[in-house]
Amino acid sequence: MTTTPDPAAPRPGPGPEEAALEAAFAAARAASPRPGAALMARILADAAAEAARRDGARGALRRLRAFFRALGGAPAAAGLSLAAAAGLWIGAAPPALLDGVAAAVWAAPAELDFAPLLQDGALEGLDEPGGTDA
């Protein structure tokens, strides 16, 4: 047969070991280390630097958004991206069709002859307003 402890009965107080431990905890709580001014200054400097870094990033994002808005918003940004991608593709793997175009553009003369321009008087008047019409 088991007996149920009477909840109203006085409970035994803490033993000497428990009391000693509680006293030690209280003493340790009272002696908790306090942060010095140097540590607080370092921590607040971190906070300021982090806020400044965030502000800088936000500013760059704002400028980028303003740039695309000035270009014409999202459609312009999409068009720009498409053009950039197409340029990259053509540069990396040019289609065969472009060989003919390139050949037509860069056909003879292979060398440009600047000799006539260097003759005396050929460039006269170019640095004056009105040019050679004067």
Binding site: A24, A28, M40, E50, R54
Partner: protein
């Protein structure tokens, strides 16, 4: 202590809570950072100092934990977690990393109890000596027990909060705390008279 903190945190009229201060800092209010640091750094520093037994290392941990809080500020979701609990968890992980990196012969670094061959010199010990004796006994506890005991009995946190910080169940916290208390009690028992505890009874 826990009740007092809980009451202060739940009273929106008295002072802005930690999450409100963090949100204010994220909006660019620098004064909120100071208020938050004044409130949280002493707690984190005390916890880290007891975990590591080294003031300089504890300061590094406190600074690093606060830096992570500053970085987290814009992403903080109110109501999801307590700022203090989050910060304790970060500090606990930083302390664990540092303890793991220490050389295995760390027992050599554990502070020895005061020389028991000088009972006369110990007769007038004051509370600071009791605190020092407890700190030394804490340093001899296994790290998990030490963490649970410090959070419960020195930081005054409730067991569910400690469980969240340590990433374990409440039962595990109760077990760690009970074992830690027993070990501390046994450690201090031999020194009870010289530390003046018997005079308190």
């Amino acid at each position: 202590m826990q009740d007092h903190r809980a009451a202060a945190a739940s009273d929106p009229v008295a002072v802005p809570d930690d999450a409100a201060l963090l949100a204010a800092y994220a909006r660019g209010e620098r004064a909120a950072a100071r208020a938050l640091a004044d409130r949280l750094v002493p707690r984190i520093l005390g916890f880290a100092a007891r975990m590591l037994g080294d003031r300089a290392e504890a300061e590094d941990v406190a600074q690093e934990a606060m830096l992570r809080l500053w970085r987290q500020a814009p992403h903080w979701r109110p109501g999801e977690a307590s700022v203090a609990t989050w910060l304790y968890r970060v500090a606990a992980n930083l302390c664990t990393d540092r303890l793991r990196r220490r050389r295995p012969a760390a027992l050599d670094d554990v502070p020895e109890p005061a020389d028991e061959a000088q009972p006369g010199a110990l007769a007038g010990l004051i509370a600071a000596d009791r605190a020092a004796a407890l700190e030394a006994a804490l340093a001899r506890l296994p790290a998990r027990q030490r963490q649970a005991v410090v959070l419960r009995h020195l930081e005054g946190l409730a067991n569910p909060v400690i469980a969240e910080i340590m990433g374990v169940g409440v039962e595990a916290v109760e077990s760690l705390t009970a074992r830690g208390r027993r070990a501390l009690g046994a450690d201090l028992a031999g020194r009870r008279k010289e530390l003046g505890y018997d005079d308190d009874a």
